[in-house]
């Protein structure tokens, strides 16, 4: 078996040697060894490739010279002598006659190198017989486009939508159209020229000069939605997303990963929220995607009168519980630190909230969980993503809201609502802590002040200090150095608030957010950040006294709206 990387790999060539190729699709749990051997700023796939090679499980690897990272992967794997046989096939950037000839020569060179390395003879007929035309399954499907998606991501999309999924990233669109004569000829020169032509005539990836052929991917009438995947430190696809989002006739959701298994959880949240917004709710315990207040009211009157409903938002920093009655009136709320276990915190928090309201577990008709820990909470009857819950909660708190800015401990999100209160679009920060509550927490620690003090401190600033680093680690050392320069703490905190606001306003732009804006999540309590975001948006933010409870409130309202 030969480990390889993308659709430009000449897998039929290796069939001519009696060898099979498999694409590396597993998102690894750790990239530590790869980062030590290369650099953290390579894309996750490149690092996964190095990690796989260093595992000692790969005897043969064929790489394609398609980007800087692949070239460096080849250097690193060769230097580590991690595979018995390692090959690199040159791939042109353009597809003119010179490039076809050049690729045909590369194919023949690869054939010769493999023959020399293994002593196996190449059989042209076997190679020609390996070409196959695959017909796509008919029926509606969700496409994954963009940068290479790992197996776990593909599974997450399939589970969320309950539909067929086509992975149309680096491996999925492989389809070679070989002329019949080239599959019969004994002339190897003629065959390899046609082979090179067919490889370059595929639906191009974004590293090719002319990407117009990719538009065909958007025009299939069976396409129901697009999950557009970008990968940290792969720069080719981000810009295409903007073009796809404006051109596609179906909804598009952008997600970003670093190609590790750890990022699966965040990806799952986004994909499920997208499925909810589109009305595909398989795997989500049968919730309708509607978040409108009217829907909840109607359901209450018909089915849920006299009972209570709870929402549990299990976040990275705090666990929040809201209990509402059949009218949607808040009966009890509680916020506790999440601590070590999502499940344990949730149980304790729910029990305390019930006790506070003078209720028992039996008084609850339905419990909905949300937040990062939602899948691990035994208490819930169903779980819904925090995107949908925040939309429901915010809409309940103020029906005029069109954009929600939610900055929590671990992530920040911007959710844009349509006129009916449905989620129209949402974007989230990436895995990095920049622009989140965690960022402010780290900076408060560096300044030796509490988060409460930080909230007010920056309001009385005099000098406009720019914190240029949004990376939490770099920013921390920048803050320490500003303290060493005797800069005023007010001014430093102001700079930090501006830094969070800059990151947030970029998300607002990406989400196409418009006013009125509501801010939710724990950071809504930080007056400095709120003021800085208001300055950037040129509008006041609606900040409810229930801002931190918005996700749990939405979950409780959804529990009330859809009793089974």
């Amino acid at each position: 078996m030969i480990c390889t990387v993308c659709k430009y790999t000449p897998i039929e060539l290796f069939a001519g040697f009696g060898e099979e190729c498999s694409f590396l699709e597993e998102m690894p749990a750790s990239l530590d060894r790869a980062e030590a051997a290369s650099h953290a700023n390579l894309c996750g796939f490149g690092k996964a490739l190095i990690e796989e090679a260093l595992s000692g499980q790969v005897e043969q690897m064929v790489l394609v010279n398609c980007c800087d990272v692949m070239r460096r992967c080849h250097d690193v794997v060769a230097a580590e002598a991690a595979c018995d046989r390692l090959f690199l096939m040159d791939l042109p950037h353009t597809c003119g006659p010179c490039q076809v000839t050049s690729l045909a020569r590369s194919l023949k060179q690869l054939r010769d190198e493999y023959r020399e390395a293994t002593g196996i003879e190449f059989d042209l007929k076997t190679c020609q017989a390996a070409f196959e035309t695959r017909e796509a399954d008919p029926g509606t499907y969700v496409a994954i486009l963009g940068a290479r998606a790992g197996k776990q991501l593909e599974d997450a999309v399939r589970n969320a939508f309950g539909l067929a999924v086509r992975n149309l990233t680096c491996t999925g669109t492989r389809s070679l159209s070989m002329p019949g004569q080239a599959l019969l000829t004994d002339d190897e020169d003629e065959f390899f020229e046609a082979y090179a032509q067919a490889l370059l005539a595929q639906v191009p990836c974004m590293r090719m000069d002319d990407s117009v052929g990719r538009r065909a991917l958007l025009e299939d009438p069976n396409l129901a939605g697009i999950v557009y995947h970008t990968m940290k430190f792969c720069d080719f696809y981000s810009v295409e997303y903007a073009e796809v989002a404006s051109r596609a006739h179906v909804p598009v959701c952008k997600i970003e990963s670093d190609f590790t298994a750890q990022s699966t959880e965040q990806l799952r949240t986004r994909v499920e929220a997208f499925a909810e917004a589109l009305g595909f709710s398989d795997g989500l315990s049968g919730f309708a995607p509607s978040t409108s207040k009217e829907t909840f009211g109607m359901t209450r009157e018909t089915e849920a009168q006299g009972r209570y409903f709870a929402g549990i938002d299990s976040g990275s920093t705090s666990t929040d519980v809201v209990i509402v009655d059949g009218d949607g009136t808040i009966i009890s709320t509680l916020i506790v630190p999440t601590g070590a276990g999502a499940s344990k915190s949730s149980e304790a928090c729910l029990a305390s909230a019930l006790e506070q309201a003078g209720l028992t577990r039996e008084d609850l008709a339905r419990v909905v969980t949300t937040g990062y820990g939602r899948a691990y909470i035994g208490e819930g009857d169903a779980s819904v993503t925090e995107i949908t819950c925040h939309a429901a909660g915010a809409r309940h708190l103020d029906a005029t809201v069109r954009t929600i800015i939610d900055i929590g401990g671990q992530d920040s999100k911007v959710i844009s609502l349509d006129a009916d209160g449905h989620v129209a679009k949402f974007v989230m920060n990436d895995k990095c802590a920049a622009g989140t509550g965690r960022f402010l927490e780290m900076m408060a620690r560096a300044l030796q002040i509490s988060l409460d003090e930080m909230s007010e401190t920056g309001l009385a600033w005099r000098e406009d200090i720019a914190i240029s680093s949004t990376c939490s680690v770099f920013a921390e050392s920048e803050v320490v150095s500003l303290v060493a320069q005797n800069k005023d703490v007010d001014d430093i905190v102001h700079g930090l608030c501006e830094s969070v606001a800059a990151k947030t306003s970029t998300l607002v732009k990406r989400a196409g957010g418009t006013g009125p804006y509501m801010m939710t999540g724990g950071v809504a309590a930080n007056a400095g950040v709120v003021a800085a975001i208001e300055r950037r948006l040129g509008q006041k933010l609606i900040v409810s006294d229930k801002a931190q409870l918005c996700g749990a409130l939405g979950a409780a309202l959804l529990a009330r709206g859809n009793p089974s």
Partner: protein, 424 residues
């Protein structure tokens, strides 16, 4: 008041609503800078480097004054066909450096993000793309680029074609460093020369092309003389001047200006004062605007840069100037940026030998995967050859990706290491 910072703020604020006006403001500011460079050049610099600063500024002014006779190019694309056709080239790195020098880069970086470019991409390319997307960079007549060295080019130039309908020509440089690859590139260069002729409305003359290539070769020979005279001497310089040399030896290599610059530089180095300071070979772009690097490496007799691979590499590849196509192709195929990382290690060792350097700094510019992914291998390769090497991460343009504290500590520790090595 910090005049440049104020200028950058005004340009940025204007660009938000009026790209034409922002462009005129930049042109006004850069003309003022040109006057300063001519009337009151930095006296700490030798005449050759003062001249390079003036030429570099003049070329950017020419682009802004008459973009219809200008072409965007990737830095490794050959200048000769453009020069022979009377076209003014400008590179991604050149425009970005000027935006950063005007302290307006933040606006353009944000504009690139708004256009969809990821923040992990090279900031030189992002600044350039932001300038294009915002309309502040004038539309050139056409674009020429190569697949060599940087993915940023493979994103930037096709995007220019897709969104701004700019005619473009790409030279695919095969990965293999071989004579067959040279022949492949020669065939493509003939296509490039035809393309340039079509764009300007008249064929590029063979004679003009040959003359330009001969000047490239004379420049290369002068550069080699400059490096050969370097051991034991120091010609005062700053990182900005090193970046000018990078532009002179690529973007206008083959122009009368490049030949004059290299000749002046060699003459001045041969007459330069002797120095016992630490001698550094630098790999990749330079953090020319980052304070801790400036404090330690600019105009400092204790430690200074003797050569940079970006500026030196094209001058150290043997070519036959009588065969212009072969000469241009050879510079691309045998560039140290092409092929396995060993080529880069070999070039670094070559520069260490030529300039008798004490150590090497390989600068990991944030978005450059080609260098970042190779930096540990380069460091290991050099250290195996007995040459101390520091892998220094940072960003040439975007301050967000820098840590001043870390840069200062790493540079100081490396200087201490080299000084200890001298004492041993």
């Amino acid at each position: 008041m910090d005049v440049v910072r104020t200028f950058g703020t005004i340009v940025s604020n204007t660009a938000r609503t009026d790209a034409d006006r922002a462009r005129k403001l930049l042109l006004f500011g850069w003309k003022a800078q040109m006057l300063k460079l001519c009337a009151a050049p930095d006296k700490r610099l030798p005449k050759s480097r003062q001249y390079a600063a003036q030429v570099a500024m003049r070329k950017v002014l020419d682009v802004y004054a008459d973009p219809s006779h200008a072409a965007a190019m990737s830095v490794f694309a050959p200048y000769e066909p453009l020069g022979a056709a009377g076209i003014t080239p400008f590179s991604v790195e050149q425009i970005s450096c000027w935006m950063a020098g005007s302290q307006a880069e933040r606006f353009f970086l944000d504009a690139a993000s708004d256009a969809g470019f990821t923040e992990t991409m090279c900031s030189y390319h992002r600044t350039f793309l932001g300038a294009c997307a915002s309309g502040v960079l004038p539309r050139p007549a056409f674009a020429v680029y190569t697949s060599l060295a940087c993915d940023g080019n493979l994103i930037t130039f096709p995007w220019l074609g897709r969104t701004q309908d700019i005619p473009r020509f790409c030279i695919d440089v095969p990965y293999e460093r071989s004579e067959q690859s040279v022949a492949d590139v020669v065939a493509q260069l003939h296509g490039l020369v035809d393309f340039v002729g079509e764009q300007v409305g008249r064929p590029v003359s063979d004679e003009a092309l040959r003359t330009t290539c001969e000047r490239s070769w004379k420049s290369a020979l002068a550069w080699r003389r400059f490096l050969a005279a370097s051991p034991g001497r120091r010609l005062p310089a700053d990182m900005t001047s090193e970046m000018y040399a990078f532009l002179m030896n690529h973007v206008v290599l083959g122009s009368p200006e490049s030949e004059r610059f290299c000749t002046m530089l060699a003459d001045e180095m041969e007459g330069a004062r002797r120095s016992e300071g630490l001698r550094i070979v630098w790999l990749h772009t330079m953090p020319f605007s980052q304070a801790p690097a400036i404090e330690r490496l600019n105009f400092n007799d204790r430690v200074f840069i003797t050569a940079c691979d970006l500026a030196s590499d094209p001058m150290l590849i043997d070519v036959d100037p009588a065969d212009p196509y072969d000469a241009m192709a050879r510079r691309l195929v045998y560039s140290c940026m092409n092929g396995p990382v060993q080529a880069r290690i070999d070039r670094a060792l070559d520069m260490v030998r030529r300039t008798q350097a004490d150590g090497v700094i390989v600068f990991g510019h944030w978005g450059c995967k080609a260098t970042l992914g190779a930096s540990s291998l380069i460091a290991a390769g050099l250290e195996d050859a007995g040459v101390p090497c520091l892998a220094l991460d940072g960003d040439g343009i975007d301050a967000v990706n820098r840590s001043d504290g870390q840069t200062a500590t790493r540079l100081d520790a490396f200087i201490e290491q080299l000084e200890a090595g001298r004492r041993a």
